[in-house]
Amino acid sequence: MDRNQAHRNRKRGLKALHFLALFLTMSIICIPGLWIVLNSFRPTVEIMAKPAVWIPSFTLDHYRAMFGGAGEGGVPVLSYFRNSLIVSVVSTAIAILIGMSGGYAFARYRFRGKSSYFVGLMLFRAVPGVALSLPLFIVFAKVGIIDTHFGLILVYVALNVPFTIWLTDGFFRQIPKELHEAAEIDGCTRWQAFWKVEFPVARSGVASAAIFAFLTSWNEFALASQLTRSVGSKTMPVGLLDFTAEFTINWGGMCALAVLMILPALILTFIVQKHLIAGLTFGGVKG
């Protein structure tokens, strides 16, 4: 009886500990983000107040200034948002088309040196953005596509293709090859079999690969900060720096822009989270 009691107590203690640890983890994950959101609604005076003010007041000033054009510091947030959107959407669409065709090749065809090609492609993804930005800066300047949407789109396509291949390869491999065989016997050409059968079946997987690519472009900083200079092409991550002056930082404004940046990302991710995990693990585990 005593031993049963001891085990029961231990179990209870472990349960409490488990709950506490989980709560702490979630707090650490959530608080920084929430802090940003909170501060985007607080007046600057209150953010800077000493001693700290813990009961927040509410203001939309930062958002008003941000969307009001030349408001706080005159940061043209809307232009940055538009640039980010154009660059991310276009580069994602192209990267998905190219990556999907590559992923399909890896999933469906046998050829010599397949795994070396695969690793090789991944290695190009591993090249650090900063290291790549130096020569790209020079080359793009020579070709005359620096500081343009086109230049940045091109870079992001190249950046996203390898990982898109990884993901779509995994998704296509989950589809039994009999499916396209059946479609071909049912009268399809290979091309039709792909678009009518394999693509619709892999659709959700492709969508999550697309969102992954979108997020990479949307969030990228190292390359964008060197390849874009003007209001006409700067993306939001680069624009974030506009709030930093030599010695002062407009924290409230930055927070508001941060919220604007993170919101689309959060929504998109929320939609595809399940497929995302499946794609990553499948692509990796079944090599």
Binding site: P51, A52, A126, A131, L134, V161, Q226, G287
Partner: protein, 297 residues
């Protein structure tokens, strides 16, 4: 038919090859070349002067470079290990949760969505010595301190590591959790009946099964270790007095601030090799672990 047709797989892969060659390979070749010249942005003619391996000799004998290199390797080692251990703990905890697991998993994915630059900024704000959340909280609790989180060398390194771990632990946690979900129950139950303690079960059954998932996470992470550049750049810019200088910030300073492209490209090559070494290492481990568990295909 007069011309031989390319095999289908090559046609499908060709666009990928072309884009990557144009955007990555050609610039890399260019930068390889320029790393053998004293190229300065301000004096274009210097691009045509071949100086052999002088740049490499220079960085290899430069104490500042080695300090940054060593710090980068140390930083990566600490960060990756911390992320792995924390990610494993979080995944094991999440696996035991009986309700609300979906919600918790979604929350867990939040940091993955943050732009590294945003993470840098966010923690720069939180660790600000004057108005940051941490110091404000400490002061409100009665400690009369203003810890110089981003100014003191050691604290700054800690802050950066904290930010990096905050951003990337999720990758490990999520993938290891996926592994735990995929884990067959029978061996676990067999081990229990055979008298294994929870620790033994974990050590001999669970962990080996999770290894491929851990290596996938490692591989994915190693693909973009250099994202830490964004964080460091915005939080400390490599300062104070170069005490958080990593390979990448040093390189960008040399290239863009000092305009010494040749030298910077030489450093770039070292950093590329470093990244590639990490990626190849984990890819290898991944294939080995896969083969061991018979998951190849």
């Amino acid at each position: 038919m007069f011309r031989r047709r390319l095999p289908e797989w090559l046609v499908l892969l060709l666009p990928a090859f072309i884009v990557i060659a144009a955007v990555v390979l050609i610039p890399l070749i260019f930068s390889l070349y320029s790393s053998f010249t004293p190229y300065k942005l301000t004096r274009p003619s210097t691009l045509w002067r071949w100086i052999g391996t002088a740049n490499y000799e220079r960085i290899l004998t430069d104490a500042k470079f080695w300090a940054a290199f060593g710090r980068t390797v140390l930083f990566l080692t600490i960060v990756l290990n911390l992320e792995l251990i924390l990610g494993l703990c979080i995944a094991l905890m999440m696996n035991k949760v009986t309700w609300g697991q979906r919600t918790l998993r979604t929350i867990l994915m939040f940091p993955m969505m943050f732009s590294p630059i945003l993470v840098g900024f966010q923690f720069k704000f939180i660790f600000n010595d004057n108005i940051g959340l941490v110091n404000n909280a400490l002061q409100s609790m009665g400690f009369d301190v203003a810890l110089p989180w981003l100014v003191d060398g050691k604290l700054a390194m800690f802050s950066i590591i904290f930010a990096e771990v905050w951003m990337s632990t999720s990758v490990f946690a999520i993938l290891i959790l996926a592994g735990l979900f995929a884990m067959p129950r029978d061996p676990l139950e067999a081990a229990k009946v055979d008298g294994c303690t929870p620790w033994q079960t974990f050590r001999h059954i669970t962990l080996p099964f999770l290894m491929p998932f851990i290596y996938i996470a490692m591989t994915i992470r190693s693909l973009d270790v250099a994202r830490a550049y964004d964080i460091v750049q915005i939080m400390t810019g490599g300062g104070p007095a170069r005490r958080t200088e990593l390979l990448w910030t040093l390189m960008s300073r040399t290239g863009y601030v000092d305009a010494r492209m040749g030298l910077a490209n030489a450093m770039g090559y070292v950093s590329i090799l470093l990244s590639i070494a990490f990626t190849v290492y984990f890819f290898r481990k991944l294939s080995a672990a896969r083969a061991e568990l018979g998951m190849g295909g």
